[in-house]
């Protein structure tokens, strides 16, 4: 579709479906416009910064890191993060193992920690190829892993959600938690990138 400012754009099929369903739900008194707006606002507030804070804490507090790896949900609660139904599994990158997360069935994603998933995470390309040829997919993200590195792919098929705990870059000694969090991107926590100190 050609995007020209000022031109009338008809709704796409899915936009139309969303508006119709929302208006029906409001009309029937099942939800109010205010509740919908509130939920959208809450969704927009969740950003990868929440997850980055968890990672930075784990990098600086070995006790917390051990508890987080043992039970991701309890780890988040400890930091006061509202996790609700989130059953979190935190998987740790090491010098020998690299973790990457995908949901082949739909697009399960730890929204409480990372916000709204990127478009590519929901694409058929990423979903079908990551389980089958992870090394190729990662290289397309610009992440070249050496041949000795083992790749562990997590297919998020049911009730668990996954967060990758990346390795802390070597040149970050003495960095504050806040500065550490600033280099932990969304992609690092999905496992298609690794943090860089510069």
């Amino acid at each position: 579709m050609k995007e020209e400012s000022g031109n009338y754009q008809p709704y796409s099929y899915f936009q139309l479906m969303e508006v119709s369903l929302r208006e029906l739900l409001v009309e029937k008194g099942i939800v109010t416009d205010a509740q919908v707006a509130e939920e959208v606002e809450a969704m927009r507030k969740r950003t990868p910064a929440v997850g980055a804070g968890v990672v930075a804490k784990a990098w600086t507090d070995p006790g917390f890191k051990a508890r987080l790896l043992a039970d991701g949900t309890l780890g988040c609660i400890e930091l006061g993060i509202e996790v609700a139904a989130l059953k979190l599994v935190v998987v740790e990158n090491t010098p020998d193992v690299h973790n990457v997360v995908v949901c082949t069935l739909c697009s399960c994603y730890p929204r409480m920690l990372l916000g709204i998933p990127p478009e590519w995470y929901k694409s058929r390309n990423y979903r079908s190829r990551t389980v089958r040829e992870p090394r190729e997919v990662l290289s397309e993200f610009g992440l070249q892993l050496n041949e000795q590195m083992k790749i562990r792919v997590h297919d998020s098929t049911a009730d668990m959600r996954y967060l990758v705990l990346p390795m802390r870059p070597a040149e970050t000694d003495g960095w504050s938690e806040e500065r550490l969090a600033s280099i932990v991107t969304r992609d690092c926590m999905i496992g298609v990138a690794v943090p860089k100190s510069h």
Binding site: K87, V89, T104, L105, V131, R132, E133, P134, R135, E147, Q148, M149, K150, I151, R152, V153, H154, D155, S156, T157, A158, D159, M160
Partner: protein, 99 residues
């Protein structure tokens, strides 16, 4: 599939070798096609959850099903897999799909 006879306590423990049932029932199934018929090892027990195949039909989801993370060797899953022979794939599978 009828899951009424399935117990809601874990029959498997971490380290057990399990095989994913090679079945193709209709409906909302959370077991990916590509993993059916393959063998792996229980990595951990995730807890018990309402059976998604029942919940999708607006039924109660009872009896709840234990959920496992099962670890598969990539070279066993994909013929001609290229990459490190130690590469693995971990998938969440409900108990009634394991044997």
């Amino acid at each position: 599939m009828k899951s009424g006879s399935a117990p809601d306590f874990p029959r498997f423990k971490p380290g057990d070798v399990v095989r994913v049932r090679k079945a193709y029932p209709l409906g909302h199934i959370r077991t990916p096609f590509y993993i059916r018929g393959h063998s792996g090892v229980i990595e951990r027990i995730c807890g018990t959850f309402g059976n998604p195949e029942e919940l999708a039909q607006q039924r109660s989801g009872e009896p709840k099903q234990p959920l496992y993370r099962v670890r598969f060797q990539q070279k066993d899953v994909w013929p001609g897999y290229k990459g490190n022979p130690g590469d693995v794939l971990e998938v969440e599978i409900f108990q009634h799909w394991l044997e």
